[in-house]
């Protein structure tokens, strides 16, 4: 799915526009990383892109359809949101949690049927957590829960998933598991927008990187050309150095 966001602005209070003018476009099978300091509006941007917050100005189009014209259910069949991890209250099983992704395909009083269950089985298998399907969603690890939420997005049938800091609080192994699943799913044509505080992850996993600074995307492009000491300095207001390994891999370190 192709997502086109043009001159998007959003404000919680009239006095302060948290997003002033965001323009960002990415296409089928691409992963865009949105980097920005705390409070720069990354989560707000994802919520605007998912249609939950009507923009103050500008617009978002999914495959050419204006997001604000789409009824909630149609919108939810096209684009999914994976929010930041939180502790769930009730002990739904992984399968029951993923099944909730079928909601946009069902009427108000309708209950999921056998084709919905088939879609859920397929989604759970696609992220490799088939063995966890009957476990309470409260008793699996953070990384596994993140995979379950991705599976919910797949069950939704969405062409694009917006993920809010999907690897926050995860150990390096689980961080990689989650991002490797995301990468694998692009093969099926899924697009992703991922907010992150890990510019190294953008180097590893992104097709496109956008730096959100003072309410607009001031720098964007392929990670290797846009992730520079200058762009990192502008985003985080501190000095970094980028070191290059023998094989051509790069890593970002804070400058001491």
């Amino acid at each position: 799915m192709r997502i086109e966001c043009r001159d998007l602005a959003y404000a919680y209070t009239p006095a302060q526009e948290i997003l002033q003018s965001v323009s960002l476009t990415w296409g089928t099978g691409q992963i865009v990383f949105i980097l920005g300091s705390n409070g720069s509006g990354k989560t707000t941007l994802l919520e605007c892109l998912s249609g939950l917050r009507p923009p103050l100005r500008g617009h978002v189009a999914l495959d050419g359809h204006d997001l604000s014209d789409l009824p909630p259910r149609t919108r939810a069949q096209m684009i999914g949101l994976v929010p930041q991890l939180h502790e769930p209250i009730f002990e739904f099983t992984v399968e029951q949690a993923v099944l909730m992704g079928r909601a946009p395909h069902l009427g108000l009083f309708e209950r999921p049927g056998s084709n919905d269950r088939a879609a859920v089985r397929e989604a759970i298998a696609a992220v490799g957590i088939h063995h966890l399907r009957h476990r309470p969603y409260t008793q699996i690890s953070g990384g596994e829960r993140q995979l379950a939420l991705i599976a919910r997005g797949l069950a939704q049938g969405a062409g694009c998933l917006l993920m809010d800091e999907p690897v926050a609080h995860l150990d390096p192994h689980h961080q990689h598991d989650v991002m490797a699943s995301v990468r694998a799913l692009t093969e099926r044509g899924l697009s992703f927008a991922v907010t992150s505080h890990l510019p190294n992850h953008a180097l590893l996993y992104a097709d496109w990187t956008a730096f959100l600074i003072e309410g607009s995307v001031q720098i964007q492009g392929p990670p290797r050309s846009t992730i520079t000491e200058a762009s990192l300095q502008a985003t985080y207001r501190m000095a970094f150095e980028i070191i290059e390994g023998a094989s051509g891999s790069r890593a970002i370190l804070p400058r001491q």
Partner: protein, 334 residues
């Protein structure tokens, strides 16, 4: 602990309340042979007119009312726990019960006619929820705002209720109000039932139909909206239908605590949090519990025990057992 199957067969859901229903018709201060109970119920020859009147005109409406009240309080409790994402919430959270209790007490200070008492309960239950919704609209209608609004409006109506009791005649009106507030189904007549049966029937059907979608509301508002749920509309509909069901119950039975808190927990411990099963099982367990407790209330002692007292006596230890189970599951108690 006995390991229950998580998928109770349908016949269990029907049979348990049906058995409770039959037992409650049979037992009472006035002994009736159980065979006669069935003969009366199925219109067969044999039992005397006194038995017939006792069962059909005294016990039957009362047992039906108990079933409706139990199912209403439990289903609304289970739905509200999900809607407000808080397992400690019960059907009283939005101040509706306090409003209804005030309305009934207000009516009782002028008349003891049951239709006026019911009208008072409905009117002020709706007034209470109206005020809560006004607070909600002013402050953004989130679940938290509704809960805080409900607590405030509930407290307001409790104060009004205190005022009514303070000015009530301590020799005649005050005991009537106090006894009524303890909760009970004594004196239930057929004429009380049409409204309760209609509201309960429609309300329970609404929640049964909506039951799977209630799962989505236990997620955050953001997640539910991202899944295409029109959250405000659905939440307002649940609150409105729930309010009517609580009003119908309080209007007839007074304020009966604990059922709306404990029954959903028992049901959740049995079938898990999926509202697809939780709602029907809560209805079944709630109806059964109140039918049986009401039978105890009118049988155990020479005079009636107020139902609200019995639910408390049973509800508190039941809740402690469930809470201990919960802590053990989390490894925080032994």
């Amino acid at each position: 602990m006995i390991a229950f199957s998580r998928k109770p067969p349908v016949w269990v859901l029907g049979l348990i309340p049906l058995a409770a229903f039959a037992i409650a018709l049979w037992v009472g201060r006035f002994g009736v042979h159980w065979g006669d109970t069935f003969r009366v119920l199925f219109g067969l020859e044999g039992p005397s007119d006194v038995f017939r009147a006792l069962i059909l005109r005294v016990r039957l409406p009362r047992v039906l009312a108990a079933a409706c009240v139990g199912a209403n309080l439990s289903v609304v409790g289970a739905s509200f726990q999900g809607l407000f994402r808080n397992p400690l919430v019960d059907s009283r959270i939005l101040g509706v019960s306090s409003g209804a209790a005030f309305g009934a007490a207000l009516a009782l200070s002028f008349t003891s006619h049951s239709l006026w008492v019911q009208a008072g309960a409905y009117t002020f239950a709706l007034a209470a929820i109206g005020l809560v919704m006004m607070i909600g609209m002013r402050f953004g209608s989130s679940a938290l705002v509704l809960v805080i609004g409900g607590i405030l409006i509930g407290a307001l109506f409790n104060s009004f209720l205190g005022l009514i009791k303070y000015v009530a005649d301590p020799l005649s009106t005050l005991p009537t109000i106090t006894y009524w507030l303890l909760g009970g189904l004594n004196g239930t007549q057929w004429s009380d039932l049409p409204l309760l049966l209609t509201v309960s029937g429609l309300g329970l059907n609404f929640f049964i139909l909506l039951r799977w979608r209630l799962n989505l509301l236990t997620m955050s508002d953001t997640e539910a909206q991202a899944l295409g749920v029109r959250i405000r509309g659905v939440r307002n509909a649940i609150v409105a239908v729930g309010t009517l069901m609580i009003a119908a119950s309080v209007a007839l039975a007074g304020t009966i605590g604990w059922v709306g808190l404990v029954i959903p927990h028992v049901a959740r411990a049995w079938v898990g949090p999926d509202h697809g099963r939780l709602i029907p099982v809560s209805a079944m367990l709630g109806a059964t519990t109140v039918i049986l407790l009401d039978a105890v209330a009118r049988t155990a002692l020479p005079s009636e025990i107020p139902l609200g007292i019995l639910t408390g006596l049973l509800g508190v230890p039941a809740f402690l057992v469930l809470f201990l189970r919960f802590l053990r599951a989390r490894g925080e108690a032994t």
